[in-house]
Symmetry: D3
Subunit: 139 residues, 6 copies
């Protein structure tokens, strides 16, 4: 049968910064540049979630798109959108909010939930800006 | 030698709906939401066709791009553009016009023809909207 | 005081065609080209609504954006999205569904409602495709 | 002679929120929605600066583009990019950081400087997201 | 009656440079920067042509879009696309190929032809890159 | 551990043509179409470089993004931007400047340098236009 990849885009607008409390401001600036500015900055993140599976013979759909959208909103966007990733997001606590770690965190929020509905999470793609993008395919 | 992927974008504007005649309007709406509205709706679809192969040592090209464009127009766009996918397209008859099935249908229209010109179809990507995208790599 | 223009984007996916019942198929094709194909086609329309006014000194906002979004959804998107513009939309009845007429129709749906909330509709912009766009500033 | 408008795009990624200290959290949430979340959120803002004038007969240019870019970076982007608009930006102090007020603030930062180089600022356009945009043409 | 603006996008890919033969390489580099590099560089230009008029009561269209496209291709794109603007384009001879002058040149190529078909050219917009854009409204 | 793909976009604006000196103009035109026009044309190329690796546990980053940007600018963009690929670029000498060969050439310029910093080049993607794109994953 035909395996197909379905990609769904959602967006979130969040504040974050990159810095380590145990480092001096100088060291933080040297490593993270302006991303270390103390009062945070922010981005319009774009999230592309890829789910793979075989289209249902009756509906022609890999997964009910309304369901997939609901899962992404409930498990990811609700937590991140119009929030501070460093201060507000339980599942990012103790991690640097690099776009790499955000993508890994989103994967962990989605993988089981999507599997429980009979589809397979294939990739999480996150745009931080139009120039900086992360793809994560799971561990 | 160096295998390279060439991606060509084309577009088509089509009408379609998602519904099954043997289901009640209520069941269709429950499964397909507003996509089941009876008088059709439509999209500006974007199609990205990926062909792989080794660049010709003389021309530097994987495939003659004018030829690839001609194949995509003749085999796919001519049939779909400014048409109703459910009513007008021979090779979609009897299938739900989900973007999954459209991508699979386009693959079947292109694979042999591209192979007959010495290149290999690698992926068909179809954007239904800026938020809903399908990738198909063949059966 | 400072007059500012606020632009809000919304989208709708609709079917339509361009043809006149009183013309022959040949004449319709001659005038409207493939847009006259009988079983409809469709587009992902993009709508940009521009409202002008002075920012409220307390809130800094020309108009409550949640309200503006609600007005556009209720008065325009609800009617057009996932519909057939020629068959389903009361306020387009008897008009050709050219993007010019769609823009004028949207203006008429929005102008009074926006005025009743103390702001002024300045422009309706509609993208039919990435190549065809209409701006309407009112009669 | 021929007056021409030159538009230059620059970008900045900033944190902000919309809330008034003298209001209760409930009132702030009622007026500003999720934009009032206390720990800030952020955006990839896009700034389009329009300058008008006659092209120099020798160079064909309305204004030296390297100079215009330098002015925008020095007077605007340097202050806003990777900053918190509410906490870090001198010329936004005491104002709500609505995109309306950001556009007005940018106008005030640029108008005199551009005039001192013989050109005229015509419009400041700021995208907060792909859906929310402000145009400001001066007082 | 209702005046409407119709905007049509077309594209061209051209080579050019900015330099004056009567200036030294140093002076050219000082004024035009890397745009003065002697062996040319190039761009994917985007052209947006705005035509205004009243929609025809029968067709709903400001101008026959097939005709407008034909005029733009014949009078502008044919000359510029896959050409060197400095060497190949008769109507740019003796002018710096700044995007300002390209926009003015395109206006002059289109204004009379569009007028002869009963519509009015309103604006020529040219994108040189995603960051550099010119608008021209005529002399 | 978690392997992650980081994608960085950069841009360059260059002139080129496709033609072989040993072929007649007619043969060149037959094979390459308008790309063979003798005085060059040009493009705004977009380059997406994908690097893979495990995020550093301390910084959360696959590679220092400032370093990656520096490598891409020094090894690729500096040579190509505002240049003629056929005349000015040492590492494209003797090759057709097809977008396939440009992508391969960029790979060769980046692979070793990125490896020497502990990361792995995974893919070079080059957009010649919004319709023509090449992906190269190495030999």
């Amino acid at each position: 049968m035909a395996e197909v990849h379905l990609i769904r885009r959602e967006r979130f607008s969040s504040a974050h910064k990159l810095s380590k409390d145990e480092w001096s401001p100088e060291k933080n600036y040297e490593v993270f540049g302006k991303c270390a500015n103390p009062n945070w900055h922010g981005h319009n993140y774009q999230l592309f979630v890829t789910v793979k599976g075989e289209p249902d013979p009756e509906t022609g759909m890999v997964i009910d798109l309304k369901l997939l959208k609901r899962i992404i909103l409930d498990r990811v966007i609700e937590d991140l959108d119009h929030r501070n990733i460093d201060l507000d997001v339980e599942w990012m606590k103790g991690k640097m909010s690099s776009v790499e770690n955000i993508a890994i965190g989103i994967w962990e929020r989605l993988e089981g939930e999507i599997a429980s509905h009979g589809a397979t999470l294939h990739r999480v793609r996150v745009y931080e800006t139009e120039n900086n993008i992360i793809d994560y395919y799971g561990g």
